[in-house]
């Protein structure tokens, strides 16, 4: 049973930010709700005010321009992202990872912005967006700031976001548009479970980069590798960077092993 709270659905960003500025830590921002409502129902989150931002038109914005880049508004759902043609055409790694995120029903509510704000080590959007050098656009009543995603997530489910701030959008520069890419995710069963480990690979201009989920407190981005770097060398660099744990899903040794397996598969698949 959920605790009682009051619900607000402001129609403008200004109104939402005013509410957040007033209620601060007593408030929680609701978009897709696929993390927030799970936490509320489990008693892990007990906001007095729930601020639903889905009625704010500008947060639904989704646009791509080869000059300007990709903008993913806070309330764009994962399925909306997957159905947006430039994603399959130009951001293969996002498309592949989005299709792996939870289930069809969940993807109709869950949002890429929510996925990075939750900042789980296994967030499917995180390592692909790290590879694409995404930025997080954060607004509060008095300011707008842009933070690189690699600085936005600070630990297991922690970010630099203040209680009075809202992530307005994720911005992906056009740098890696059209890059060949792949995403491999290990899970015990399709859909219903958290990822055990996942690896993203993006190839670009004579080099390639690798992102890793569920193998450290935060999703990781490895330093770029020159095209033609031997698989073993890449695997060694990854093994050094990760710090996997044992949990109910598998051992740390198995996680480390599978990171190596996926690196080899992706390098073959993408031709890195």
């Amino acid at each position: 049973m959920t605790h009682e709270f009051s619900y607000h659905a402001p129609g403008s960003l200004d109104e939402a930010l005013a509410l957040l500025s007033e209620y601060g830590e007593k408030a929680a921002v609701l978009s897709g709700g696929t993390d927030l409502l799970v936490n509320i129902r489990a008693g892990l989150s007990r906001p007095e005010y729930v601020i639903d931002i889905k009625k704010i038109p500008e947060l639904k914005a989704l646009s791509y321009d080869p000059e300007d880049g990709l903008h993913i508004g806070a309330c764009v759902t994962v399925n909306e992202l997957l159905e947006y043609e430039p994603i399959a055409e130009s951001f293969a790694v996002l498309y592949a990872a989005g299709a792996e995120l939870a289930t069809h029903q969940l993807r109709h509510r869950a949002t890429p912005v929510g996925n990075i704000v939750t900042a789980s080590p296994c967030g499917d959007m995180s390592s692909p967006l790290l590879c694409l050098e995404a930025e997080v656009v954060i607004v509060s009543q008095n300011s707008t700031r842009r933070v690189a995603l690699r600085e936005f997530i600070t630990g297991v489910k922690t970010t630099v976001l203040a209680p009075t701030e809202i992530v307005k959008e994720i911005f992906v520069p056009p740098t890696y548009a059209g890059a060949q890419a792949g995403y491999q995710k290990l899970k015990r069963i399709k859909g219903h479970d958290l990822g055990v480990v996942a690896v993203a690979l993006v190839k670009h201009n004579g080099s390639f980069r690798i992102g890793i989920n569920s193998a450290a407190p935060t999703p990781l981005l490895l330093p770029d590798f020159a095209a033609g770097t031997p698989v073993e060398e890449v695997q060694k660099a990854a093994a050094k960077a990760i710090s996997p744990i044992d949990d109910v899903r598998c051992t740390k040794e198995y996680r480390a092993f599978m990171v190596g397996v996926y690196i080899e598969r992706l390098m073959k698949e993408v031709g890195a």
Binding site: T2, H3, E4, F5, S6, Y7, A9, L30, G33, T34, L37, V38, I40, R41, A42, V50, D52, K54, N79, A102, T103, H104, Q105, L106, H108, R109, K190, G191, H192, D193
Partner: protein, 162 residues
């Protein structure tokens, strides 16, 4: 408390509801439509799948206030005319129901699947029901029922479980 209204299976409902109540709980306990089930309550099992504004969602992870002004379809709408839908009939023929707890959610997920793919392949059906658990593990019968309902099981011999 907030006053909300939504259309469920074509009928308009207006209710005064608590803001912290999920749509699933309001459907079951305040509207009295108990076809939709609560399994995990965390968006994993799909037993609470309904269609809201044309897309399948987990009703356990939506607040009833969020559904204000929406059009909702639940399993009760499937046989509103007093007759089972073609998919429900195929479920019956293929013994695709054991304990029945996953069935309402399965039916709504399949309804959406057939709107996207009128003749889904076996793989599309498997992919389509990825968000619905059947703990009796009767998936094979469910897949056959969908193939049958969409006219893709011509040979009687293929109906292994009837």
């Amino acid at each position: 408390m907030k006053r909300v209204q939504f259309t469920i299976n074509g009928d308009l409902y207006e209710r005064e509801i608590h803001e912290h109540r999920t749509l699933l709980h309001v459907l079951r306990e305040e509207i009295g439509l108990t076809g939709t089930k609560e399994g995990c309550g965390a968006g994993e099992c799909g037993a609470c799948t309904i269609i809201m504004n044309g897309v399948p969602i987990n009703a356990c992870l939506v607040l009833a206030v969020e559904a204000d002004g929406t059009e909702i379809e639940t399993v009760e709408g499937e046989s509103k005319s007093g007759r089972l839908s073609p998919v429900q009939e195929a479920f019956d023929r293929h013994h695709a129901v054991q304990c029945g707890f996953c069935t309402p959610g399965m039916l709504m997920t399949i309804k959406d699947l057939l709107q996207r793919y009128p003749k889904p392949s076996r793989e599309q059906i498997i992919e389509g029901i990825e968000g619905n658990f059947c703990r009796c593990t009767g998936y094979e019968q469910i897949i056959e029922a969908v193939l049958d309902a969409t006219g893709q099981l011509e040979e009687k011999g293929e109906i292994k479980h009837a």
